[in-house]
Structures are given as C-alpha cells and as structure tokens.
Point group: none
Amino acid sequence: MAGLCTQVGGRHGVGRHVHHPVVSRRSPPPHGFSPVDRVAPLTSKRKGNAMQVATELSYASFQTVYNVLSFALASMIFTALFLLISQGRVLPRYRNALVVSATVCGIAAYHYFRIFDSFRDAYIAGGAGQPLGADGLGGLTYALVAGDGFNEGYRYVDWLLTVPLLLFETIAVLALARSDARSLLNRLIPASVLMIVLGYPGEISSDVTAKLVWGTLSTIPFIYILYVLFAELSKSLDRQPAEVRGSVGRLRILLIATWGVYPISYLFPVLDSFGLAWFGGEESFVLRQVGYSIADVLAKCLYGLVIYKIARLKSFADSAEFAASEGEAPSSEKQAA
Amino acid sequence: MAGLCTQVGGRHGVGRHVHHPVVSRRSPPPHGFSPVDRVAPLTSKRKGNAMQVATELSYASFQTVYNVLSFALASMIFTALFLLISQGRVLPRYRNALVVSATVCGIAAYHYFRIFDSFRDAYIAGGAGQPLGADGLGGLTYALVAGDGFNEGYRYVDWLLTVPLLLFETIAVLALARSDARSLLNRLIPASVLMIVLGYPGEISSDVTAKLVWGTLSTIPFIYILYVLFAELSKSLDRQPAEVRGSVGRLRILLIATWGVYPISYLFPVLDSFGLAWFGGEESFVLRQVGYSIADVLAKCLYGLVIYKIARLKSFADSAEFAASEGEAPSSEKQAA
C-alpha cells in the first residue's frame, strides 16, 4: 500500500500549497526519507543544466528568491493598475503611452506569477511534511526535484513581448510627427525582437562557445538600439519642452542601466565554465534571481512611472486649460526619476 | 502494485497545484520507479493516437511547448485587455469591432489556459518528485501518461467560436452600408462554421482516407471565404479612405498567411502514414504546437491590432474634431502592420 501512496505522490509533483496539512502531519513517512540526502554535490560541470538552476538551496536562499519574486510580482500588478487608473490625468493623445506601459507591467505580472509558481514547485524541503526538530525552519534545505523544473524560459517569453512595447511607449509619449515616429519604431522594434531571439539559443545551450556566439550576435542589435535612442532620437527632441528633455534623458539612462543587468547575468554560466565555480553555485543563482527581479522592476515599473511623468508634463505644456484643471503646478507629481 | 500506482497517478495527472502534496513527498517510490521506462517507443504507426500526440518528450521539447503555449496565453489576455481599454480611442461606431476583437482574444485566452493545463498534466517527468542529480533539469525526459491526455480538441472548439467572429470584426470595422455588410456576413459566417465542422471528423479520425476526404470537404468553404473576401469585398472598398484600403489589404494577406498554417498542420499525420515518420515524431509534435500558437497569435492578436489601427484611421477621417483631440497626428499609434 505504501507503494500506492508513493506513486501518486511522485506524480503529483511537489507544490508548496498544502491544502490539507493535517492529513500530512498525521502520517509521517515510514522510513524518514530525506530527498536532500540523495542530491549529488554541486560541481562546476553540470551538463544539460543549461539554465544554471541550483540543485540545492539553503532555507535563507530559498526564502530570498521566494520573496524577491513576490516583490516583483506585486510591483508589476500595482504599477499596471496605477497607470490604468491614472489615464484621465493626461491628455487623450498621451493615454496610449500609459496603456502600453500598463500592458508591459501586466504582461510581466503574468510571467512573475508563472515564475513564482514554477520556483515554488521545483524545490522540495528535506523531510517535507515531517515535524521540525530543534533547528526550526533555518535548518531546512531545499532540493531541486524532477518535474517541470524551475522554468527561466518565461523570462525570455516576457522580454519578447515587453521589450518592443517598452520601446514603443518611449516613442509614443513623445508624440512626434507621424513619419518620425514610424521611422524610429520601424528600426527599434525589429532590432529588439532580434536581440531577444538571438539571446535565447545561447541561454538554453550548455555549450560555452554557443553561448558566446549567440551572446555576441544578440549584442549587435542591442548596440543598434542604443545608437537609435541616443543619436537618432536626439534630433527629434529639440521641439520638446525643456523639462521633458531632461526626463527623456533620465529615461535613456534608466534603460541602459537596467538592460545592462541581463547580459551580465547571461555571462554567469560562461564564467562558471572558465573555472570560476562561484558563478555556477547557489549564491550566484540567488544573485541572478534578485538581479533579474530588481532590473525588471526598474525597467518596467519605474520606467512606466517616468513615462507617466513625461505625459503629465507634456499635457500641461500642450494645454494651459488642462494644467489649470489639474492645479497648474505639477508639484504633486511623483518624482520618479 | 506498481501497475496500480501508475494508473492512479495517470488519472490524477501531474497538476502543479497539489492538494495533498505532503502525502506524495512523504513516501517516495521504493524502487525508484520511473514511468518513462515503461513507455513504448515512438513508432510511425500508432493506431488510435489520432491527434498525433508525442508519447515522449525531451526536456528541451517539453519546455519549448510549455513556453510557447504560455506565450500565446499571455498575448491573448493582454491584447484582449488592451482592445477593451482602448475603446475610447475610436469613434463609437467602431467600438463594436474592437469589442468583438477583444472577445476573440478572450475566448482564445480561455482555451490556451485549458490547453496549457492539459499539456502540463498530460506528461510526467521521469522520477517525478525525486531530487535531481548533478545532471539537473536537462537530463529529464517526459512521458505521456494514461489519463485525460493532451486535448487538442480545445483548438477546434476555439476556432468554431473565434473564426466566425474574426470575419464579423473584419466586416464591422469597415462600417459598410447595412445591406452590404449583411450580405457579406450571410455568406462568410455559415461558410466558416462549415469549414471548422467539416475539418473536425478528419482531425479525430485515425484513418488516412477519412482525413483526406474531410480535409478536402473543409477546403471548399475555405476557398469560398477567400473568394468573398478578395472578389466581393473589394467592390465595397472604393469608398474607404486610401490608407484604410492599404490596411485592409494587409489584413487579408495576414488572414491567408495565418489560416494556411492549419491545413499544413492537419496534413502531418497523413504524411506520417505515407511513411514519412518524421511527421509523427517528437520534433513534428513540437513544431505543430509552435506553429499553431504563432499562427493563433498572428491571426487573433496582430489581426485585432490591425483592426484597431483601421478603426483609428477611420475615426480620424470621419471626424476632424476627434482627430484634433487625439493630437491629430496619430504618431503614437502602433504600426501593427
């Protein structure tokens, strides 16, 4: 009969949402099996574990990743809602930029939901379901188990959708002449799609050469995007109000600073393979998750709030009547950047 | 006893939301039973596996299908929301087209939720629930298990609802004279229903002759739809503004290009039965899922965004006042096509 329970369990995976904890506590495992005991130690060579998912996490590491993913999720949801609710506080011509910013945060929220669930379900606590000893929670270790795994692919799917939209909202909020906007978008959006698509084969490959080749290819459109944003876009900024030019400048700095996190993280497995074992270990896994999450919050939520601020400033500049109806002095604005 | 375990597990699927996970974690399989071992190898003859579902998937294949289904799901949800939120940005007479486009994306999002969950629950990782060794995730293989299976029938249900609506929104956004619109819809909608209904018996049949007969029957209304859209509809386009005619042209190209994916995929099992075993294998299964998902995203999300763009252009052409309130130059528009 033990075999029956076992099998059902194995199939069901390892979700952390325990809906009937009492049932579990009632009947402890017959042989006190701890899955962590059977985990092979981390080595710097882990063929096939291309996404560099740590096979074992301490309680502190597990909780850190858990909490930072939840932080990113909450930030995305409520920035999206704020931007949607605030549409009426800019002129109609700038609302599409806010809706697109909200869409970016919404898409990211969806993916953080998926990433969060995927992380929670990918690890199992040693001796799960058994009463804790004197060490309490701090003594727990978490092992990566066979199942769906911790799926980092969601991040690429997210970027594929959100990065072009981020560039779109950047152009949209400037309300440039139609031909200028179209010309910029026709270069920025294909370049951004190319950047994400070229990065993916390198991310999933366990071969260092492949990683470096795809990473280099992906860098080419990234540099082109920077060129368009800094060289080409500047020509279109002359007609913008002075305070808007300052905000757009900060927007571009924010973009470079946050997008720079992704290639750095991408290089971790490469550095690992060069013998820097730390880059393949538990700490670097945690650091990558924290880094990605913070970069995403800055690149999407803070970015969206700066877009909102620019839309407000431009609305006031365009219409004195609207400025007066909003109290004229935009001192109540969030100093997002 | 092991056989019984398998069956129970298969029944329950491998949902990640585990309601009694502790039971499962407590007692791992005593002999390290891996269901993958017992799965029959793929052959080019699999009687009854009419929907051509792969019986075994590598980690990379599993993740690719998983991610592409999630990508389609996210695209559908957020396009639906975007179209609903953006209603105010077109004149009232075009809002129904946006609402119907959003409905199409919403219905598709529902079905992708079902397909995603169905896929996730249909496969089980080798040694599911047990800690991974040093190979990590990359070494996993996934086996199709007895149970609900991977239900592709959802796709037909989806098309039965969304394809007539896609044709409806196409006619709705043109705001033709009522008699013209009614005449076009009276021909397009029954033809589209017939196309889907006639395709279904061929899809579920494991008999090649039946597949070819039903596939051919289904092609007749498809060709009739193309005839109506290209020959009949063109007569009604003369009164449309020039830029709208261009967008409608792109809309029809998009429709042919994306709808063409479905018959190609439909033929895969037929090609398999002709001895081209690749068409019944794992790679072709993955390619079909990726192809269907991308075709759906283009045929519904991108299509909906082009409908939105046409509605914007027509709103500006209809009302100079509305165009002015939107900043006149619709430079902030997404250049969807």
